[in-house]
Symmetry: C2
């Protein structure tokens, strides 16, 4: 069998089995550590079979991944009732609903910290399920399009199930750089001083005795569905590019800027695409995820190197990149997420982090996770790793949405993921507010003036002025601070409706 | 003059002048960078003279320090109207009042980030005012009891005023370890792998041409006033010690634990004192500030080494330490605050950070700065540097205060400084909640059960249960989430009073 050539360690040959069989190795209350980061490099067959078992059996699994999974895996895990707990990130509408209706517990963590917490708590991982493009002759795992927490999982797991995915070309081997962090007090320096530095091995070293099953699959990564840039995202991109050009003009940055990190989704993608026609050059990325725009920038000769923990691209882009992989290979590295998101490296390299907010408030606090303070969207992801420790932390979102009923600039955020201390620059299609060195009251004026939509601007101003009469470092009217969200919940709009005004 | 011997660089001799004269070098709209960190090592005469000028002239100064200043310096700067802006930390009741009544702008920053932000913005510092214990023969500054941001200030300043304080013994020289961080992309590895590692020089290298004036003073540091441990702080200390002992028993930590960081104030001091009679040994500290308890631990033979950015002790402790300094000297190092609070070092060493909260909520969000969401207490200080990047982040506070009118556990914090993602352990005198790996709804149960005071417990439970009926990852009733703070403002108590219940 041709596929078996991907296993260069003969002792594994008798471990080859079907996904269904492999799935039976999982006990009903197991803690699973699974590969996968923003749809890339996840288990395409074994974990879905586990989810299917959930429809027939009473499973209470804890599923820990790198980040979100592809296809319907998270949806099926949720729908089948297989989950007791899910961490550290998800982005699935069905799972989201199960979370919000209390079918399971969801622990939303800084993506750079999951491995730390597992290690600190010496969590027992029963089974690791890891996608591989090949097995080395020592029996080690060559991952596919993501690294995530896989090295930590295999290190801590009792059993390992390997899923070899032949839809990826074998020459993917070589782009990974794996290095486990020793627990403190023996933690070593992470000697990365440029995004292209390599410090580890191109495979995940494992104990071959732990391998319980090996499965083959041909299912490709679920493709990223990235909406094309629209007027809003293009306006946001333009504001950011102008701002960065001005920083270069002021002599604060060079035309190569500093390594870029960009969140996932259409806005981040549009911003990065904007760099294609900019004056910046020799750019680098030190990010979590690489999207289509990374490869556009390579093709345009703008980008020198990109480091991340996963590659999540559209079908088109996948085709382009992987049929011509030698063109990109020496410009890419995929790392464990506690290294791609390491505070040490992020501060040292001076990352410019650009992430999307759900909403922000007039003082610069950002909500990245909770709709009207209670319902989970996706999770904080790596945004906090980059925002706290980077050189520049930029958050973007549209000023309004859903037919003007939502203002994404509010008096007080309904949930805080990034505090006023961590947010340097806020951007909407209306404009950009550079908050560095400003006090809360200075920020409020700038945010309302530059970022708010005209239809909500005067109400935000009025709130700020009325609150300011009572003084305080951060003026608020506690009884009204969350009233915009209350209106949205009650009346479907943040706009003040006539009756409400009357009843006040 | 005997004091002049402290200046080993003869070219400075003709710069010697009085504090009043030196203060005239400051222009009305200058940006000042001043030494001083939690009352230690601040300017005792020049900056106070500048403050006095404020009573007669129209000054609009920006004063940037390490952290809080001693005596009435901040109060006079505020009262005299000399300030346009103050950063990154303060702890003075008069200044606080001026902040809250909008007499000036206060920028409350992560203490590890001020130097970063100044450098990134290439802020022009007009004058640096730095306390010294001596001047080296090259004209370099040997700081006193704090390092703070002094090295960054002297590097960026146009002029430098040095205040030589002869109240400190000259053998203070040698405990400092100064190393400036180069701007990115040339930032280097910080090669500290143990709290005792030294990476720089025992003096602040400056350009002697910048020195505009040298002044002598004998005024000692304003002493720390630390209330002795009481039943509450002792109970909190006991919970933490039990928790850490259990971690050792579980094999997660050794009896030397990991380097400790403790916030300032009586609670932190009581907790550290608690280690004196514990089974822990060979402890180390990698902190911001060293208080009396650090020296108690040295005396008890429990502590091997302590690294920080300042030493802030009581008069008694000062006497003990500085009349017998050789006993402690090789166990101490004082560093710039962007190294004492560096994300790189904090993560690598795996700091156990223990800080005090103003309040926390049932989901584990912490407010460290704002009274009822609007009024400034002190500032976030270094708590965020340690909480985000350390091994373990512990926040403590009493469960109630002011005659039971305040519950420090609330449905929703009125301001968020540390998000649910950054808080591992919460402690009140009632008990301890270990939140690691828990989802918000699991945390709520534990926090209410273990930390809340019995008189507020059932109301917190009821809130959580009522909110939970509406679902959500983080259940809240938006219209009531901040009502406890509203009651406190309106009625002087968070307790539900009869009339209120009726009107609901
Ligand atoms: C914040 C985030 C959800 C935005 O992503 P996006 O693709 O731009 O968001 P969407 O346009 O899908 O908006 C999310 C939904 O929430 C809704 N929404 C946003 N703000 C809202 C608000 N204040 N009130 C109610 N609904 C709101 C939107 O209208 C949209 O609803 P829809 O799905 O019904 O259209 C996403 O970036 C995220 O999860 N970020 C956190 C993680 C992170 O930053 N990772 C960084 C490294 S990858
Ligand atoms: C949080 C902090 C103020 C607590 O310090 P402390 O000495 O234990 O606090 P105090 O007992 O003086 O309490 C502060 C005051 O606020 C009041 N207060 C606290 N919570 C309150 C609340 N929810 N509502 C109203 N008032 C409140 C207290 O009653 C007290 O009032 P008083 O001065 O009139 O007595 C202090 O630790 C701090 O500033 N922390 C942030 C900085 C930091 O963590 N640095 C870490 C490294 S140094």
């Amino acid at each position: 069998m041709k596929d078996q050539k991907r296993i260069r360690y003969s002792k594994y040959i008798d471990k080859i089995t079907t996904a269904e069989m492999a799935a039976t190795f999982i006990q009903p209350k197991d803690v699973l550590g699974v590969s996968g980061f923003t749809k890339a490099g996840d288990s395409k067959t074994v974990l879905p079979c586990v989810a299917q078992r959930g429809y027939k059996e009473n499973l209470q699994l804890t599923v820990i991944s790198g980040a979100s999974l592809g296809y319907d895996t998270d949806a099926d895990l949720a729908k089948s009732g297989a989950l007791l707990k899910r961490l550290p990130f998800q982005a699935d509408p069905t799972l989201r609903k199960s979370i919000d209706t209390h079918q399971l517990f969801y622990v939303d963590q800084h993506l750079g910290q999951t491995a730390e917490i597992l290690q600190n708590l010496q969590t027992k991982i029963d089974v690791a399920i890891i996608e591989a493009v090949a097995i080395t002759k020592e029996g080690y795992i060559v991952p596919t399009t993501s690294v995530g927490n896989s090295a930590t999982f295999t290190e801590m797991a009792e059993k390992i199930i390997i899923e070899i995915n032949t839809s990826f070309p074998e020459n993917l081997e070589g782009i990974h750089d794996i290095k486990l962090q020793k627990p403190q007090p023996n933690r070593e320096i992470i000697p990365i001083t440029q995004s292209s530095d390599r410090i580890g091995t191109p495979y995940i070293k494992i104990d071959p005795h732990k391998v319980a099953a090996i499965v083959f699959t041909k299912v490709p990564d679920a493709p990223a569905r990235i909406a094309s840039p629209d007027a809003n995202t293009q306006a946001i991109a333009k504001h950011i590019l102008n701002f960065l050009e001005n920083e270069v003009a002021l002599g604060r940055l060079t035309p190569s800027l500093l390594p870029l990190q960009a969140g996932i989704g259409k806005t981040a993608n549009a911003i990065l695409s904007g760099f294609v026609h900019s004056n910046f050059e020799n750019l680098t990325m030190y990010s979590e995820v690489l999207q289509d725009s990374t490869f556009e920038l390579f093709d345009a000769g703008k980008l020198k190197f990109a480091s991340a923990s996963s590659i999540t691209v559209s079908e088109e882009c996948f085709e382009k990149v992987f049929t011509n992989f030698e063109k990109y290979k020496d410009k890419l590295v995929l790392r464990p997420q506690n290294i791609s998101n390491s505070p040490e490296v992020i501060r040292r390299l001076g990352i410019i982090g650009i992430n999307t907010a759900i909403e922000f408030d007039i003082y610069g606090n950002v909500n990245s996770t909770h709709i009207t303070g209670t319902k989970m969207m996706n999770g904080i992801g790596g945004s906090g790793d980059f925002a706290r420790n980077g050189y520049l932390s930029v958050f973007v979102c549209p000023s309004i949405s859903k037919n003007d009923t939502i203002s994404h600039i509010v008096p007080m955020v309904s949930h805080t993921d990034h505090t006023e201390h961590d947010v340097d620059v806020l951007v909407t299609e209306q404009g950009l507010a550079d908050l560095r060195g400003l006090a809360p009251r200075e920020r409020a004026k700038l945010i309302i003036e530059n970022c708010a939509h005209p239809i909500y601007k005067s109400e935000l101003k009025t709130y700020f002025e009325r609150a300011s009469k009572f003084g305080g470092q951060t003026p608020h009217l506690l009884e009204e601070a969350l009233s915009w969200h209350q209106r949205l919940k009650l009346h479907g709009t943040m706009k003040k409706v006539k009756q409400q005004v009357a009843s006040h």
